[in-house]
Symmetry: C2
Subunit: 310 residues, 2 copies
């Protein structure tokens, strides 16, 4: 079983409007409501792949209850710890040709709530082959929250995949996660290097490995991804760039990675799957969803090359 | 008891952002969640006045459940009929110096749900001295929905106050409500006249009276309000215009009107109260709330003049 951790989930509202005009009334023509947060997107992709998955994390208030109901609608198994604060909403207003996002600040988590989650997580991770930790930390949690969870997961014999940013990533690295999956911007922010080329990404990834990550998978959008392990550096790339919604492509890649390391696949296979499912997420209209036809069609055309050691 | 009817309530989310930038991510610094819809604002003002009030209407889905919980937090008695569709949200994004509003379309109400509400309303209005019908109609309801309710309320011996716009107002007039309360824009839309002056408003009000309204109270913002009855035309005005948030001022006026006609007050008194509570709502930051100190302080300085008959 793969356990996904979402400490700061959201109720994602996507509004379609003809045009977002500032200081005016905009009538929303279409409303989509989705469970949000990277870990929940990963769980939904794994679930649609048919991989056994359990979603955990923190949920609170009536908005948290709405997220819970949506997970049930989508048949995603879950076991969340309750918090007093309200789970946040994100409002994405889509007008041609772009989107405007409104991000609520999210709840404040108390020490007691965090301690209760750690006890729950300890039990759940003991039954997990792989634990995915993805997304931002809510207010109130220590910046090394992911490191604590990774240590616990490792003590329970699970593999770990971390998809985080900024301080949460930097602290998480120290616990030696099996895989971290930064995108180019996160890799640049974490290392201070500018990521212009695949070999630049490979170099930056070495720094994250020196800081504790066993394997770094850097996602570079339409340039594919770079896998940096102790033994090799691979560059997997799609045959072409796809039109669509890149939101959720990274989450689909994380799902493929977690699935691959759980079944003991080689990195060339895993990288190919991760690129295929990223493409399949770009074509799907919503984060957390993938188009299986796209994944199947594109897979034979994905190239994987060894990069020279850096 | 005053019964308020809100057929298209909302969960009102107010987001404070430094600046709403189109096609960017805006982090929300403050989130306010309120029960929304004109009828619910009227109910909240009446409740804070200490007047016995019951809120009814249609609520559906998990967003409807959130509205119900908020009414309980605010100790507003309620008895809503359930619907299958989801109660809408409205998102108001406040940045200096204005607000941008996103209005969800709201649920579709079925004939069966409407019939069930009519049965509920018939029972509730039999115990009501006055019925307030305020706000827009959800999709699926006939345009004469308010006329049906007004007929039923009158048959049950209740007085009626209608605060509606467009077709819902035009159809509602035919049932002869005791009071309608258009603002200048609604009065202009309903009559085709331009409302530039208090006497212009009085003339337009005569047309609404000819169409069935017994008394018309036209709210004209900082110019106060015009009361047009069979016997007289009154102009009540505040001593000065107040800075603040005009949203909800009309609802506070409706609350004062409903309160006044219920206790059999004269129109000069009612008009004074309506102006005082409108001002008290402008000073309060949120629709549905009023500042009692403002109402008390401003009341002695409100002037009421007889306008020549039109």
């Amino acid at each position: 079983m793969i356990l996904t951790v979402t400490l700061n989930p959201a109720l994602d509202l996507t509004y379609t409007v003809p045009e977002l005009k500032r200081h005016a009334v905009c009538r929303v023509s279409d409303v989509r409501v989705q469970p949000g947060g990277k870990g929940l997107n990963v769980a939904r992709v794994l679930r649609s792949m048919g991989t056994p998955v359990l979603a955990t994390g923190l949920l609170g208030g009536s908005t948290g209850e709405q997220v819970r109901c949506l997970l049930e609608d989508k048949a995603v198994l879950h076991r969340f710890a309750p918090i007093e604060g309200d789970t946040r909403r994100t409002v994405v207003v889509a007008d041609k040709p772009g989107v405007t996002s409104l991000w609520e600040p999210g709840p404040m988590v108390t020490d007691k709530e965090w301690a209760a989650f750690l006890a729950l997580f300890n039990g759940l991770s003991a039954s997990a082959a792989t634990v995915v930790l993805a997304g931002s930390l809510p207010q109130g949690l220590p910046p090394d929250a992911y490191a604590t969870l990774i240590d616990m997961a490792h003590a329970n014999g699970a593999l770990t995949v971390l998809d985080a940013d900024g301080l949460a990533l930097r602290h998480g690295l120290k616990a030696g996660p099996a895989v971290v999956k930064p995108n180019a911007a996160e890799l640049a922010a974490a290392t201070g290097l500018s990521i212009e080329t695949p070999s630049g990404a490979a170099q930056a990834a070495q720094l994250l490995r020196a800081d504790g990550a066993r394997t770094v998978v850097s996602s570079l959008g339409s340039s594919g991804l770079i896998v940096s392990t102790t033994e090799q550096t691979l560059h997997a790339r799609p045959p072409r760039s796809l039109n669509g919604n890149p939101t959720g492509a990274g989450d689909a890649a994380v799902a493929a990675i977690a699935n691959g390391i759980t079944r003991g696949a080689g990195w060339s296979d895993i990288a190919t799957d991760a690129v295929a499912f990223s493409a399949a997420a770009v074509v799907a209209s919503t984060a957390g969803e993938v188009c299986f036809d796209t994944a199947r069609d594109i897979r034979p055309h994905i190239t994987v090359n060894q990069l020279p050691g850096v």
